[in-house]
Amino acid sequence: MDTTNSENTATEYLSTLPGDDVRQIMWRFADRYELQMIIQSARSLARGVVARLVAEGARNTHEWTEKKAQLLTGFDEVGLTTVFMDPEDGGFLAGPKNLALALVAFELSWVDGGAATCSLASNLALSPIHEKGTPEQRHTYMSRCVPPLPGEDRKPWRGAFALTEPLPYVGVDTGILSGKMRVAEWEEGKEPILHVEKRGRFITNMGFANFVTAAVDSDDARIKGSAMIILEEGDPGLFDRGATTLKLVHQLSSTSDPILSLKVPASRIIGGYTVKDGVIIPNINHGDVIESVFRRTRVPVSVMSSAKLLSAVEPVIRYQRTRFRGGAASSHGTPRYEQGLQQKEDALQRLVDVWASGEAGAALGFAAARLFDEFDPIEREKERVLAERGITGARAQMKLFKELEKGALEYLALANQPEGERDAARFQELAADTLVQFLITDSLANVFCPACKLWNTGYGATMMREAVSLMGGYGITEDCPGFLGQKWMDAQLEATYEGPEAVQRRQLSITMTNELFLAQFRQWIKDLRGIADQRPGTGACTLASAMELWLWTLGYLQESRDADGKPLYHSSRHGVVFPVADALCWLLTSRQQILDLLELEAKGPENPVVASGLAGFVNFFSDLCHVQAARSAGEVGRVCAELVYGYNRHPDWCRDAVETCFRGEQLDAMDCIMPGIAGYGRSLGDAVELDGTHASKAGPCPQESLQTFMLLRHRLDLCLTGARLAKDRAATAVSRVMIPEALDYP
């Protein structure tokens, strides 16, 4: 790389912290005023009611209290409850709502993750009904959960989603269901009445839920398989909200371990049922419901952790700058007084790392949310087309999709050709094919969702600790501005609930090898080289090199065996596939961060407000992208090298020395022909002397057999050129940026 070319030499610095105008462009909702209004609503609640609750110590109890219940009223009053609802059920937002919900979660968790969880959990309870419920179920429960309109005298319903069940200690398992359903009564010609037994663990919203959507399995020969079923507070039987979970985090959400033993009509089975030969067959099993639900609800969780990192920036800057004010050792006008800790490079650069991680995570999280907004109508259309063609059952569907994959790959190839050179008719034909478009979007959704959940929350928790550390002892007090200590602890739950990290890695290890995804990934590498050509200071070239290394490594691992002859790439070999998944997440977040920067650069001039400070924003965000790309490249290089070399057995002096080492006497003999070779050869390589002595180390060095890997790795290392200069510039910008006089919440 050309060093001079890769440096951002412009001197315009960031003027202010990025405001709404900037974010609207970066996260692609500048033209969607309904989302902009939702943000303002969520923000007013977060920085008002929620912040006061946290400041007043409402988190210091596990119980659901009247004070905490202000949240629910708040959600209703500012319209957040109805964000999830469709207009026909009393909502105000038509169409897909993934981005809207992600933005709400972002705003709430800017102040408190538990408040965001409380909001999301109500949607989670409704999601099975929304995604897979019958039209009657959908309308009934969605409209009951809408807050009353003026003149209506009713209380809105709240829901809880009950999947996880108790295990010894504090564990849960979603793979096996202990919750059961049996036929309690079934009179001829009437609706069967089911007896449902469900014990839940870590069930959010249970302290006040009026209904529960519970996952249960059949315990009766007259019911086939599993289902999700709706249980209501007033159903006959036991609706025990259970013991409050003594969780250390997210205390603004209600969590307990309910005991439910209720009789309900079979019509409560989500998605309905069919009776065949005297057996009740749920139309949709609980696994299908959950898959459909979680792939959407995990995305808002991912942006929660990123929101916290970004929310830490302002309080940390203020703390750093004012660190020494009021003390005897600094007076007005001195650098110590004016800049405080920001005189120190380390304080600034560590904050740059926190900021860059927040940007990267938010970029991927919101990209995933937008992707699901695109995906929702495609998925619905796919279901319609399949029903029309009479294709039912997973096997028939998979067979069809396998056949269609070729067309999808062809579409991707055509899409990457110049418009004038490709077969336009064929391209149009494939573009209009719902199933082809479904396969392509699905391949991305299957990667983006687990990737953002895994990286944003897992690595986000690590970086949140870093943010806390930047506040010194203040960081671990309840008084810490921005509630950073609480946010750090909360991040651990975000990494765990709705599918812990291992679950996300497992999913990625399968979906990232989908050829449709990889075809797009290969094109992204080319695109990033193109971006790097135009915008050399963004780290795009570094990232492209890291992506090449990852791709090569994936291929190598899929075809190779370890020192004992066992295949390396196997779904159960987590030591291989999980780190590959982790590495991919770094690449995806970093790439999306660069794309957000380009969007800002392209669209910023259209907005006079953004335009006035655009150069500073673009310079700073370019440097942040470069910093993050370098860190991603570092992680990918480390992971790939460990995996490529780590499964080979290290040569040892006894077994391998004969084949791989110089003999000392041979070097001595050659010295008369090539003077100096005896000394040079010994210093350069491994040599064994006549008496068997050798250099003091584990064994002869392994032979350099993987030339391509070495070249790619070496190239990647060289691509880090300039990254630290970018970090220096970003740090300088952080030291100069104007911040408000005080945080806008307690």
Binding site: S15, T16, G19, D20, D21, Y33, E34, Q36, M37, I38, I39, Q40, S41, S44, A55, E56, E77, V78, G79, T82, V83, F92, D479, P481, N607, P608, V609, S612, G613, M738, I739, P740, E741, A742, L743, D744, P746
Partner: protein, 269 residues
């Protein structure tokens, strides 16, 4: 009131009060550092006027509320994402500067011009609302000048309460010196009411109101009329922050009473 009122509220943006406000010398005169980039809020006095207007319109069937805003169009659009969720109104946008370095006379001229162009505005039913002051340009004269230009001579300043009688007459409580109120009765519209704080709390956000308002607000923003107001003939010898240094404190653990007591002690001191 037969047929209700036509209430025009004049109000625009000011920088969010938590922001750092640093005067600088710009190419066209004094300005605030990074002013365009700073988050903005509705001028608090204008806000009170708007909420009072919406409240009055709700209780006087047939009434209609307009908000006439002079400010940078893009900033006003951001502001609308909050304000439009609170009360129903139609927006009239005058695209111009909203900083503290414009001359009230020019601002009043632009506002009056904008109001005159509102279609279907019944001047006989017109109540002209606005703030009695502004958080960014506190000359306290703008509303009077707008009223004069529109030919409205019944003017009330520092209003805290408006009561409409059955016969359509207006009873107005105005703040006067010494912490006292002056009670006036006016036979009816048209009138100018420059509000102090009024008595109403800020309405909560309601996205459904926002969605309805946006049907007219977005077109209004697109049709914004340029209003290049400034301070023609005025030269600034110097601009500086008030001598009293601003000390911002975050108070989390005091009751409202305790905070009030502390403020009173500070004032006395």
């Amino acid at each position: 009131m037969n047929g209700g009122f036509h209430i025009v509220v004049c109000g625009s943006i000011v920088p969010d009060p938590l922001q750092t406000l640093a005067p600088i010398e710009g190419p066209t005169g004094p300005a605030l550092k990074n002013e365009l980039m700073l988050p903005a809020v509705l001028d608090p006095w204008a806000g009170h006027a708007l909420y009072e207007a919406a409240h009055l319109a709700k209780n006087a069937p047939g009434s209609k509320v307009w908000l006439v805003s002079l400010g940078p169009k893009a900033k006003l659009q951001q502001l609308m994402m909050t304000i439009a969720q609170k009360v129903s109104f139609e927006l009239v946008v005058l695209d111009g500067p909203a900083g503290g370095f414009t001359d009230p006379c020019e601002v009043a001229g632009a506002l009056a011009g904008g109001i005159e162009k509102i279609p279907d505005l019944d001047r006989s039913r017109l109540l002209l609302f606005g703030g009695c002051a502004s958080a960014s340009r506190d000359a306290g004269v703008t509303m009077q000048m707008v009223g004069e230009r529109l030919g409205i001579t019944d003017q009330f300043l520092g209003v805290d309460e408006l009561t409409v009688s059955e016969d359509g007459s207006l009873q107005v409580l105005e703040r006067i010196e010494g912490g006292q109120y002056q009670v006036s009765v006016c036979t009816g519209a048209p009138a100018v009411l420059a509000w102090a704080t009024g008595n109403l709390p800020e309405p909560p956000n309601n996205p459904q109101i926002g969605m309805m308002n946006m049907r007219t607000i977005m077109p209004a923003l697109q049709k914004a009329q340029p209003a290049p107001v400034g301070a023609e003939g005025v030269s600034y010898l110097g601009v500086e922050l008030p001598k009293q240094r601003r000390e911002t404190r975050i108070v989390k653990d005091l009751s409202v009473d305790e905070i009030a007591r502390e403020i009173v002690e500070w004032l006395k001191g």
